[in-house]
């Protein structure tokens, strides 16, 4: 896998708006979701949701799949990659390694 360095600001900007962030969170929590479902209970118009989806798509955070009359949206976690810095990378890296070590020690020193 190659990680291409992407401008951090595009992702930051896309997530800066609280409504857009809420939209992204709802997409993240669903496998796939339509504009109609996203609009329901959001307190904003379908047009506004569509605009937010456009921004999220441009930032690489959301992908779409048209099917019949509907368009289904899903989150693209790789879009957040530019925000993952060294410290967060190694924070989870070492936690995983400690778990590996526990398993290895059980094997070599039961």
């Amino acid at each position: 896998m190659m990680i291409e360095p992407a401008p951090i600001t595009a992702v930051m900007r896309a997530l800066a708006d609280p409504t857009r962030r809420a939209v992204f969170e709802r997409i993240s929590n669903a496998d796939e979701i339509t504009v109609v479902e996203l609009t329901r209970g959001s307190g904003v118009t379908q047009g506004a949701i569509s605009q937010h989806l456009k921004s999220l798509k441009q930032a690489g955070l959301v992908a779409e799949r048209p099917e019949g009359r509907n368009v289904y949206y899903r989150a693209e976690p790789e879009g957040l990659a530019p925000l993952v810095d060294w410290m967060s990378h190694y924070g989870s890296f070492w936690r995983d390694r400690f778990a590996n070590l526990r398993t290895l020690l059980k094997e070599i020193d039961p």
Binding site: M2, P5, W86, W94
Partner: protein, 155 residues
């Protein structure tokens, strides 16, 4: 003084501290034997637990950086302390893959029920105020609200 205009950096450490129900000698082996290291950290190349010795790990490349982590053994105190430098990255990258100049230090301490193993991975250069970003390692959806707070600051 205009605080908003001042960009300051600080270095931060990752610290993990756990007790393992095994003797320090056993844990020492997993830290200093290349074959065993490969079974829980990553397989090292050219490794020897000898002060001054250089070795590498191969990780995921990013941009101009080929993913090689360059290490040098800094301190070897059998069953007590083991430290090496951990360098990599490229200045052209942002976030993962940016310049990295850090030190990994393992400390072992015998306790009643085994060994307390402490990892300190030190020297992460972080822009001040952005440290909350580094806490996003527990899965990305959960941290969005925190990221959002930072994104708002940046805007």
């Amino acid at each position: 003084m205009n605080e908003a205009a001042a960009v300051t950096f600080e270095t931060q450490d990752i610290v993990i501290d756990e007790v393992f129900p095994h003797a320090p000698e056993t844990i020492w082996k997993t830290l200093t034997n290349g074959e065993l290291m490969g079974r829980w950290i990553m397989p090292p190349t050219g490794f020897e637990a000898v002060e001054g010795k250089h070795f590498t790990f191969q990780t995921t490349p990013a941009g101009a950086w080929d993913g090689t982590i360059r290490c040098q053994v800094l301190d070897v105190r059998p069953n007590e302390r083991f430290a090496y430098s951990w360098k990599g990255g490229d200045e052209g990258n942002v976030g993962y893959g940016s310049r990295l100049d850090t030190v990994v230090t393992w400390t072992l301490e015998k306790v009643d029920n085994g060994t307390r193993l402490r990892l300190v991975h030190s020297g992460f250069v972080m822009p001040k105020n952005a440290s909350a970003l580094s806490n996003m390692s527990n899965g990305w959806p959960k941290v969005l609200s925190r990221l959002g707070a930072i994104a708002e600051e940046e805007n």
